[in-house]
Symmetry: C2
Subunit: 419 residues, 2 copies
């Protein structure tokens, strides 16, 4: 925001423009890129040449250009050129995925981490181990690929450009530089490491997954999910907005009732006390099962009962749907999100949440019908976070294609000209 601009910035931006166009519109000729981006033919030629030099794009045959005239030489992305690493840390496991630029998964591995409470170093070691394994597999399969970035998604607010994990309650951390710890364990890895918030990444992933299905998103999109907890994310123009402390969208503690049940956070009536797994389990009368066999088993049983039409279970979700409706109104009122994506079991159990949710929303007389936020449901399930971590790396590369080195040797000052 406050650094001088120069011609390199112009280049970067226009390269990004061309690369994005090719990514979005598939193989097409230089002429089409010129028309689509607003750049002049000559510039497109130069930019495409650079993208080819960097190995991101190649020519893919010619097609006749309708009637007579020189045929178009198609350009297409080379997705294999770039490999992205994404990691996700949950309470018990670390998941790592390697994928090419298109999102094609090349490698995937998980391991329980048994990291002692309050010891990020142990966890970093597990992450590093899996990452090394993924890297080796990728190097073996596609030795010429460029390792673009590693993003580690993590439950906890991630602050600003330093990527410090400010506080991960479940892990007992406080202002932890997980990025540095992971990077220190991976001395050979020559790609940037980022630490990101898991719910934000899930939001990003669902956003892109829905866009791929043809959904046209509004400027501001909110994401609310519930699984082991209640959280979410906020997207502005397709980018994560993480707020002042990396906590934007963390709406588990949105107050929706002035004197609702007490919450761990110290106040009353938080959304999580209506929509979180424990209150749902309790409302459905499954607390004994949860105590005996754990929360996951109870949720599985809840799922079974819902599908069997158990009235207690259905009623529990119906009531929670009302709370969800209040949250949707709150989020849309504050952020003016034009779309709200529901994920986690909010999506899995959409059938049972819907009645309560819609009842709560229907009451609202919006200023005009097209201002009512659109409710959509996530489609990625448990994959969302990892896909989002991948997506954020992908976006970074699309923003700056110059981060990929040239493969062809290009003499400084462009090709030597002979006279």
């Amino acid at each position: 925001m406050n650094a001088p601009a120069d011609s390199a910035d112009v280049r970067r931006r226009n390269l990004a423009l061309v690369l994005r166009y090719l990514d979005a519109h598939g193989p097409c000729a230089r002429t089409e890129v010129a028309v689509g981006t607003g750049l002049v033919h000559a510039t497109v030629t130069a930019l495409v040449t650079e993208l080819i030099d960097r190995g991101l794009v190649c020519e893919a045959g010619s097609v006749p250009s309708g009637g007579r005239g020189r045929p178009r030489r198609l350009l297409r992305l080379i997705p294999e050129r770039v490999v992205i690493l994404a990691a996700q840390v949950t309470l018990e496991y670390v998941h790592v995925m390697a994928a090419d630029f298109r999102g094609h998964v090349l490698h995937r591995e998980s391991a329980p981490h048994h990291a002692p409470y309050g010891d990020p170093r142990a966890l970093a070691a597990v992450i590093a181990c899996l990452v090394r394994s993924a890297e080796a597999a990728v190097r073996n399969a596609t030795p010429h690929a460029h390792l673009a970035q590693l993003a580690v998604a993590m439950a906890g607010p991630v602050v600003g450009p330093s990527h410090l994990v400010a506080a991960a309650i479940d892990f007992g951390w406080h202002s932890t530089d997980l990025r540095a710890l992971v990077a220190a364990e991976l001395p050979g890895l020559d790609c940037p490491v980022d630490v990101v918030n898991d719910a934000n990444m899930a939001a990003l992933a669902e956003y892109h997954a829905l866009a791929a299905e043809g959904v046209r998103h509004p400027d501001t999109v909110a994401y609310i999910k519930a699984d082991t907890g209640v959280g979410g994310g906020l997207l502005v123009g397709g980018r994560v907005h993480s707020g002042s402390h990396g906590m934007a969208g963390e709406i588990g503690h949105l107050p929706i009732a002035l004197d609702g049940p007490e919450c761990r956070c110290g106040t009353r009536g938080c959304l999580a006390t209506y929509l979180g797994p424990e209150p749902l389990i309790r409302a459905a009368g499954l607390e004994r099962l949860a105590e005996a066999q754990g929360g996951e088993a109870a949720l599985a049983e809840l799922d079974r009962r819902l599908r069997d039409g158990d009235p207690d279970a259905v009623a529990a979700l119906g009531a929670a749907g009302h709370a969800l409706g209040a949250a949707v109104l709150g989020v849309s009122g504050v952020t003016d999100a034009g779309e709200i994506i529901l994920g986690g079991y909010l999506a899995t159990w959409a059938t049972w949440f819907r009645p309560g949710l819609e009842a709560r929303l229907a009451g609202r007389r919006a200023l005009s019908p097209d201002m009512q936020p659109v409710i959509t449901f996530g489609v990625l399930g448990g994959e969302a976070t990892l896909r989002g971590a991948f997506q954020t790396c992908r976006d970074a590369l699309l923003d700056d294609p110059t981060s990929v080195p040239a493969t062809r040797r290009t003499p400084v000052g462009g090709p030597v000209r002979q006279r």
Copy 2:
């Protein structure tokens, strides 16, 4: 976001950088600008020359540069060069203000508009009349000033780049192109006309007013105000974020209670039903006065009783303070605003709102103390909206100094060089 970049963009950005530096750091020499902006001396010379040509900057004497050496030639802004017009439309009045770049008010005028319900044309005519009057006064006083922009602040959501007022309930409008109407009434005015949301502008103004007092704002700041209604705004990096429908921050209908009082909006438990003027008047037992003499008189009486220590009045605000606390928690939870500015009578009556507000907030065990949002109070009172409309024009000019035409004749291709 999707237009090609060229060297003109680089110029624009670097000009903005230099102009912003001079605006923020007062008169200083080219060397200091170079160090402060990160630009090279040679470039600063060129950029400053252009700003001087455009009449935005001038040299203001020399100061010895500590010991020996060539003295520094100070540069300073010429605030009189630029005139900005700001208008505000309330239910009964139109206010227009003309101010120079520094914010020095040159002219100020108000008129009741008596615009019939549902007729934006009549209102546009009143605005235009006051604007013409302001323009004439300014032209007379400072004939060489550049008229930069006119911003009209208006109660109602303003949508996207078209500046359409989507719905102004109080005026009976629907998808009104107020900008076009005003521009049509002002054929001679050769400056851009913008229509903006009033609460958003108030937010922007308070943000800058507090910054001028030395407050360091976090990335995300929310603004909540109450006067004739409850509304607000959301600022990200000092810029208004207006959401998908221009309604971000319009939190009057934030649900804070699952089954609170019914609201005009069709749902229950909206913030406005606790914090709006009517409920406060009712809670303080002043509804008869309000019926007889109108809401403003009742609010004035409420103010008097508060200062007299009337227990009913104090109790009313105490309870409302709790609701405000819930709203603050909600807003900060969703947006992760690091600071929340309270305006309107929330600021005037801060003394009486505070206990309830703080009680509600104190319960919250934040993840860490520095994540608790800071609560500040607006200082501009009724001036906020108009100042904000001014500020948004000012920002636009600081972003693009090339919008100000050159006064000196500069030959195309720079000064002619003789050999």
